[in-house]
């Protein structure tokens, strides 16, 4: 396995910049997920790593060796494509064997390798079939098998699960994760699905408009999003982003949610980073995850980082595992994740506790995290 370094990688088509100055360093055995909305440049970046497209600038290093000028075949990188890209004229066995045959690996060794890969992925009974005789999940396994066969130093996955139905997607996601844990392989994985990104990655690179928005562990990206785009993109339901005025309250700080018709709602804050002090008196965007809120039961008192507030319930969405409620928080829509068996009704007023330990605030102008 290998380390991968992207150094100031850029790509433009004529005047249009597709990728702006992307630098990412991957340690051996990392699982990097490139995630972002369509058109964010994640697939282009993957194609550049694969060697299928040339960067307009920058360098790629695999194990410290410059691979920028190398052809795709000479990089020792395997790729699993979104459409699986199985060769329709070859059997499953021939498909898996193909990269080995192209590298002139000895015949007996090839057969051995095909067998061991097939065993690993439990597709031994499919070896003599043609791709068109396989289901979507089986094709996916064969495509992964073909990538494994030649034991490359780096694996690329280009939205490998997006052609599968929902149940199968979950199963294959788990399998890919298991595979990563078993092989300890270095993997770069492209998806537009933020849940896939969260579950699989050791690190996530969130991209938008060809710009790397944030590179971090799933925990960092989820809890300390670098800007409002990342905050809104990662997580379902989205992070609540509410404009509020930052004010001094005693020795601490407080947020004041303004409303034209009602008196402002003031919520005192726990200890915040000192960078916040520069924004006193100004508006900030407060980011609060849905799960930071709980319904206040009778006689309950808020914990140290919790604050109480009252709000009207507008919509109730039970999902089974928990119940989402959309609240009217002083004129703002505010989604909260509650216990599955709450008995709230739309239109009802209730008291909630919000845990501000994970509160993040963003600059109104730059939309960047204040930290």
């Amino acid at each position: 396995m290998a380390t991968l370094d992207l150094i100031n990688v850029q790509k433009s088509f004529g005047q249009t910049k597709i990728l702006h100055d992307i630098s990412i360093s991957l340690a051996d055995g990392e699982f990097l997920v490139l995630v972002g909305p369509s058109g964010c440049g994640k697939s282009t970046l993957m194609n550049i790593i694969a060697g299928l497209e040339e960067p307009s600038g920058g360098e790629l290093k695999l194990d410290g060796r410059d691979i920028t000028p190398l052809a795709p075949a000479d990089r020792n990188i395997s790729m699993v494509f979104q459409s699986y890209a199985l060769y329709p004229n070859m059997t499953v066995a021939k498909n898996i064997e193909f990269p080995l045959a192209m590298r002139k690996v000895e015949k007996s060794k090839r057969a051995e390798r095909v067998q061991s890969v097939a065993k690993l992925l439990q597709i031994e009974h499919l070896l003599e079939r043609k791709p068109r005789q396989l289901s979507g999940g089986q094709r996916q396994r064969v495509a992964i098998g073909r990538a494994l066969a030649r034991e490359p130093r780096l694996y690329l996955f280009d939205e490998p699960l997006s052609n599968l139905d929902a149940q199968l997607r979950l199963d294959m996601r788990t399998e890919i994760k298991k595979l990563h844990q078993r092989l300890g392989a270095t993997i770069v994985y492209v998806t537009h699905d933020q849940i896939e990104a969260m579950t699989l990655a050791t690190r996530i690179a969130v991209m938008k408009g060809g710009v790397l928005q944030q590179l971090g562990t799933p925990y960092e990206v989820y809890n300390r999003p670098a800007n409002t785009f990342v905050a809104g993109f990662m997580g379902s339901p989205r992070m609540n982003l509410i404009k509020a005025r930052l004010v001094q309250e005693g020795s601490g700080l407080a947020l004041e949610i303004q409303n034209a018709t009602r008196p402002p709602l003031r919520i005192g804050l726990p200890d915040m980073p000192s960078a916040m002090n520069a924004h006193i008196g100004a508006e900030v965007i407060a980011g609060i995850r849905a799960e930071a809120v709980n319904l206040a039961g009778p006689g309950m008192t808020p914990a140290k980082t919790e604050r109480a507030f009252d709000a009207r319930v507008e919509v109730i969405e039970p999902t089974g595992a928990d119940t989402l409620a959309v609240l009217d928080l002083s004129g703002n829509e505010f989604t909260v994740r509650l216990e599955p068996d709450v008995t709230l009704k739309p239109g009802q007023d209730a008291r909630f506790f919000v845990d501000l330990a994970k509160l993040v605030c963003f600059d109104v102008k730059t939309e960047k995290l204040i930290a």
């Binding site: 694969a50 060697g51 299928l52 052809a71 795709p72 075949a73 990188i77 395997s78 790729m79 494509f81 979104q82 459409s83 890209a85 060769y87 329709p88 004229n89 193909f98 990269p99 192209m102 590298r103 073909r146 030649r150």
Partner: protein, 289 residues
């Protein structure tokens, strides 16, 4: 109501079949005349009706046309020219098809400056009338030392066929999944590896179309054959023309009919064997399959 619908439907059907039968009759009539008169003695043709069945059946005209009719200097029949046509058609079809596949591959899988212009230029060659190239081609064949040989005719027909074969393969490969080719490249297939192992094995329908198209065109081609070959290298079309137009002696119509039929047999066989692929292949690529 249901009854009216069904009678209306039946009337449509009757009309349809009537039209189809008329057309079939129209197309089959000349074939019938050819076959019937090719198995009649010459006397019966002169004295009798062209449409009538023979009174005394004979296969003599076929044997004459095949092996003893006077076409060149020797009374050899059509046989050596039939062989010439095969020696011309087989390499010409194979070479032009392979070049077409190679061109289609390059034009679709490699984005290079001027690729569209190059394809347009190749497409344009399809519209150049044969007559325009006769004199430059004669000069070219002379320089290459191929004038008056079967090889020369192979060259001419390959050059002329490339426009068509390129068009066929380019359009077929334009609809070919890009990821397959990318995957093969990452798996280590080189330039020809991608073509030979990935593209060609998946090109069955378009290969059939191209082969039928090229085979019938080159087999039936007359002008180049008449212009660039001599007695040793005439293709069958030119030999048939010479057979029919020989100015000495009586016109042996029965032999002419038999000869014409012999000349048409290979293309007929090709159509009968692979006609369904032709229709299927022409549709292939237009709709994602």
């Amino acid at each position: 109501m249901a009854e009216r619908l069904s009678t209306g439907f039946r009337a449509d059907r009757i009309f349809l079949y009537a039209v189809l039968l008329c057309l079939a009759f129209l197309f089959l009539m000349p074939v019938y005349v050819m076959v019937v008169n090719s198995v009649k003695p010459l006397d019966e043709i002169r004295s009798g009706n062209l449409m009538a069945l023979p009174i005394a059946w004979t296969i003599e005209p076929w044997l004459t046309a095949w092996s003893t009719a006077q076409i060149g200097v020797q009374p050899t029949g059509l046989k050596p020219y039939f062989v010439n046509s095969f020696l011309l058609v087989v390499p010409a079809v194979v070479i032009s098809t392979l070049i077409g596949a190679l061109n289609g591959y390059i034009l679709t899988q490699f984005k290079f400056r001027g690729s569209h212009l190059m394809f347009a230029a190749m497409l344009f060659s399809v519209f150049i009338p044969f007559q325009i190239v006769l004199i430059p081609m004669a000069k070219t064949l002379g320089v290459l030392g191929l004038a008056g040989t079967v090889k020369g005719l192979v060259f001419v027909n390959v050059v002329y066929g490339i426009g068509f074969t390129t068009l066929f393969f380019r359009n077929y490969y334009a609809a070919f999944p890009l990821e397959l080719v990318r995957s093969a490249r990452m798996d280590g297939a080189d330039f020809f590896g991608v073509l030979l192992r990935i593209l060609l094995p998946s090109s069955g329908p378009i290969i059939v179309v191209t082969v039928i198209w090229q085979f019938t065109n080159i087999w039936n081609e007359f002008l180049f054959g008449a212009s660039f070959s001599d007695y040793s290298s005439f293709p069958i079309t030119v030999a048939l023309n010479n057979l029919v137009n020989s100015s000495t002696g009586v016109k042996e119509y029965n032999v002419h009919f038999a000869g014409a039929f012999i000349a048409a047999v290979p293309t007929l066989i090709v159509y009968l064997v692979s006609g369904k692929y032709f229709v299927r292949g022409l549709m292939a690529g237009s709709v994602k399959g």
